[in-house]
């Protein structure tokens, strides 16, 4: 088995945070966790190439990195691509996820990585990848590499992959068909009995959970503050210049309102398949309340309305997607020096 292994600067032995800007470099042998991987796999498995890149460089130049790594993996004629384990290192996880996903799609060879459940790379890539649950830090390196090796063997051989808890990877949020011995009614009664008898049981339908976000402190003086309007109601300029989808939107847009006191229906349309848009179409201020906020700006109650409103369409959207949209909008909000946001949701 020919393996290409991706590591960050730390696990690749280049250095710590001071080397986070190191560009992509390579070795033609196993390095660090790669040696353990070779040993664990045994049976002639060889890391034929190790690719190492600094965490900052990787995230700041992700597109170039992905292209370069896919090319190196192709040249190496690899059977398997492995990245990490990344534990709770966020930049490392983001890069590992992007690389595994690109190698799988573009070269059609299996990829395996490992991260802590809360690594941001998990949210973004869990649906498409086998991500072994690594825990927060390198304390369980050996076990983690063993699980990665077990999955890798099966993936390369084309053997069926068991459930997440059997194989030790993070749930992908996929539902697959399976033959079972008991009807759903029987399984339901079994679960209810287990619950009242305090025995453990596995739900077949885990409820999505949202981790609480600490409430940020409010604004001390709104009359000096810059406020931004955002909506998930799909209001876009006529012609929908960014092609924001009416459901499961993958994009958002920023639209100029700097000269406007009021939004006029003839300038806008609504790209949202989840509510009756006629009232907002007739007067978009019913969704993005610019007229009222502009009045309050003129009266001095707020310092300044940011010159653009942000918009996307919040309907039937996978969380991995909406979390990315949220992160991108948050970057924009920080960049523009916005102090507070009014978000209108349909």
């Amino acid at each position: 088995m020919r393996i290409v292994h991706y590591l960050n600067q730390f696990f690749g032995g280049i250095g710590g945070e001071e080397e986070a800007n190191s560009p992509l470099q390579e070795a033609d042998n196993a390095v660090g966790p790669g040696r353990l991987l070779e040993q664990t796999l045994g049976d002639g498995a060889t890391v034929v190439r190790t690719l190492i890149c600094g965490d900052n460089h990787a995230v700041e130049n992700q597109e170039e990195l992905v292209d370069a790594v896919v090319e190196r993996v192709r040249e190496a004629d690899a059977d398997l691509f492995v990245a990490g384990p990344c534990f709770d290192a966020g930049r490392y996880g983001m890069a590992a996820g992007a690389l595994c996903s690109a190698v799988q799609t573009e070269l059609g060879i299996p990829a395996v990585t490992a991260m802590h459940e809360e690594n941001p790379g998990v949210d973004l890539y869990r649906e498409g990848l086998y991500i072994v649950d690594s825990g927060r830090n390198a304390a369980k390196m050996k076990e983690v590499v063993q699980r990665m090796a077990g999955l890798a063997r099966k993936l390369v051989a084309g053997d069926p992959i068991g459930l997440p808890r059997e194989e030790g990877y993070l749930t992908r949020g996929l539902i697959r068909d399976q033959f079972v011995d008991k009807s759903s009614a029987e399984r339901l009664v079994d679960m209810v009995l287990a619950k009242v008898q305090d025995r453990s049981f596995d739900t077949e339908m885990p409820v999505t959970s949202f981790e609480p976000v600490a409430r940020p402190r409010g604004v001390d003086d709104l009359s000096q503050a810059k406020v931004m309007l955002i909506t998930d109601g799909g209001l876009v300029p006529k012609g929908n210049p960014d092609n924001i989808e009416g459901m499961a939107a993958t994009r958002w847009g920023a639209y100029d309102i700097s000269g406007a006191d009021d939004l006029a229906g003839e300038d806008y349309e609504i790209s949202h398949g989840g509510y009756d848009p006629r009232f907002v179409q007739a007067d978009p201020d019913r969704l993005v309340p610019l007229d009222a906020l502009r009045q309050l700006e003129k009266e001095g109650a707020v310092g300044k309305i940011h010159g653009e409103f942000l918009s996307t369409s919040g309907l039937s959207n996978p969380l991995s997607n909406t979390r990315r949209l949220g992160r991108e909008m948050a970057e924009k909000v920080k960049q523009e020096g916005v102090d507070a946001v009014i978000l209108t949701s349909t």
């Binding site: 409430r215 309340p289 007229d291």
Partner: protein
């Protein structure tokens, strides 16, 4: 955005969803189809309603008078 430290008030009529996802500041809107308005009101009353909703939203964004 709140993870980045910027306070956000969500104006919505779908209160259960705002609660489910854990929004920290919520103003109840005037309906799913017109969060910040009410098409059944005369124009001037609708404007007054919108202003009241926006004022409520701004109030919730203030540090003063809010338990942080």
């Amino acid at each position: 955005m709140e993870k980045a430290g910027v306070p956000v008030v969500q104006m919505t009529s779908a209160l259960p969803i705002a609660k489910m996802v854990g929004s920290n500041r919520v103003v109840l809107g005037a309906g799913i189809v017109h969060v910040a308005g009410d098409a059944s009101l005369p124009a001037d009353e609708e404007k007054a309603l919108r202003r009241k909703l926006v004022e409520e939203a701004l109030d919730s964004l203030k540090a003063e008078g809010n338990a942080d």
